[in-house]
Symmetry: C2
Subunit: 274 residues, 2 copies
């Protein structure tokens, strides 16, 4: 069911989307070219070939990445570059955050024992999957994590948690490769519609936040990121169908229009010109 | 049941053996200091702390290793150096070879799904375990592998198999950490004696090979390594108790003596002076 399609990356290049169903690795704001190259080698060792970069610190292409990629240079050369996480995951249906940090977010945590079969099941149904890895120093932000379906955490030593970026990619790639042919039979129960592509969800969130902004909802302004997270997390967890998203967007429009109508009514009642 | 003891490493330093029961990582003839340092970081990320080096190419200590070890410098500083695999594993009971290469050896292959519980079960019984990783370029030799109980192979991409040394250590450490509290209940069934320390087995093999050499068994000489492997692999698989090893050594002595006795008999029969 997975189709080949062309997408445009940040540099305006039209890129043919590989027909692979394997997970996409998304490095979010990576800092060191060496780590990007080493990540490519780890990916290809376990059969992952599709790399996406969100705003790499030192620009792109980065010659530091080449030597560490070794025989995985084609993975590096085919990497696509995006300027936002939203854009990088827009065609994906199931997206994880790799993070060891505890978060006060309503994003579920998935175990390393089931993540492979879970992704395989989406892939077998023709859905594309992916995983975000954060920058070396700080990791993913809450604003990144809240865009994803689940958090993947490795059983790291509490006394020495910080994994090198490539090592973190390495372990995910190993987990995925180890789960070949393992599916979760009832993940798609047939009674539910397909989950909409991530892009639809992103547009819903943007629509909603634009209207909330206009309504003065995000007050004080400093609290906006936190408030936005508290909206994005549950909407992501809901795994809405395209129809449900259309319904939500219609709902937002109705509410906005309604506010305008209500305002008109108040002003008319006051005898003002409207 | 695991005890603290002092061992002497290749540099003559008396080293206190950690009381940990976690697997020992043995890097066999590692080439690059950077990889040794990176391996330490991967080990400590997943709670492994005991590193042993067999004949590191560039000597030891190696300043190239330090920066890559990052916060895992103590693991690096406590590394012990040996001049043979046999010496490096002498106190271990269950030893693996990490290798992706197909071998014509009678050494069993263990799955990544059971290796963690298998090692944990030895550890819970107070036995020490370890795993060999070969040099970057060529990997472990058959002569190395045949000293071990089983081969561990990762599900690598057949088109791009060569894992970086630190990445290979990283995945083993992850597998081990993921298997916390998983034991194989019937691995020690109580009806069997304890498996002898590896040192006893090494001495048995040396004893046997010395006698076979004296008997002109290894002919032509070029075939000796292969012939020795074919002896070592089944003896290792047998997981002999100390008593069984004593019996085998007695057997060898008896055979050697018997050969002398038989020779005497022949010479006497010929009327020669004996």
């Amino acid at each position: 069911m997975s189709k080949t399609k062309t997408v445009k990356d940040q540099m305006g290049r039209v890129v043919e989307q590989p027909a692979t169903s394997a997970p996409v690795v998304v490095l979010v704001r990576p800092q060191l070219g060496q780590n990007i190259g080493a990540a490519c080698r780890c990916m290809l060792n376990f059969g992952l070939t599709e790399l996406r970069l969100v705003s790499p610190r030192d620009g792109w292409p980065n010659p530091d990445a080449d030597s560490m990629a070794a025989g995985a240079l084609p993975v590096l050369q085919n990497a696509q570059v995006f300027d936002s996480v939203e854009a990088a995951v827009s065609d994906l249906t199931y997206v994880l955050s790799a993070t060891a940090r505890r978060r006060e977010l309503e994003v579920p945590v998935i175990g390393t024992d089931v993540v492979g079969p879970q992704m395989r099941t989406y892939e077998a149904a023709g859905k594309r999957t992916g995983i975000l890895f954060g920058p070396e120093k700080a990791g993913l932000t809450n604003a990144d994590v809240v865009l994803t379906d689940a958090i993947l955490t490795y059983p790291v030593n509490p006394a020495f948690q910080s994994l090198n970026l490539a090592q973190a990619v390495n372990i995910f790639a190993y987990i995925w490769a180890s789960s070949a042919d393992q599916l979760i039979p009832d993940l798609f129960d047939g009674s539910r519609s397909e989950v909409a592509p991530r892009e639809d969800l992103t547009r819903l969130m943007e629509h909603l936040e634009t209207e909330l902004d206009a309504a003065g909802f995000f007050f004080p302004a400093a609290k906006k990121p936190l408030m936005a997270q508290n909206i994005r997390a549950p909407l992501t967890r809901a795994k809405m169908s395209a129809q449900e998203i259309r319904t939500f967007r219609g709902m937002i429009k109705a509410l906005v229009k309604g506010r305008g109508e209500a305002l008109l009514k108040i002003r008319r009642a006051r005898g003002e010109d409207v």
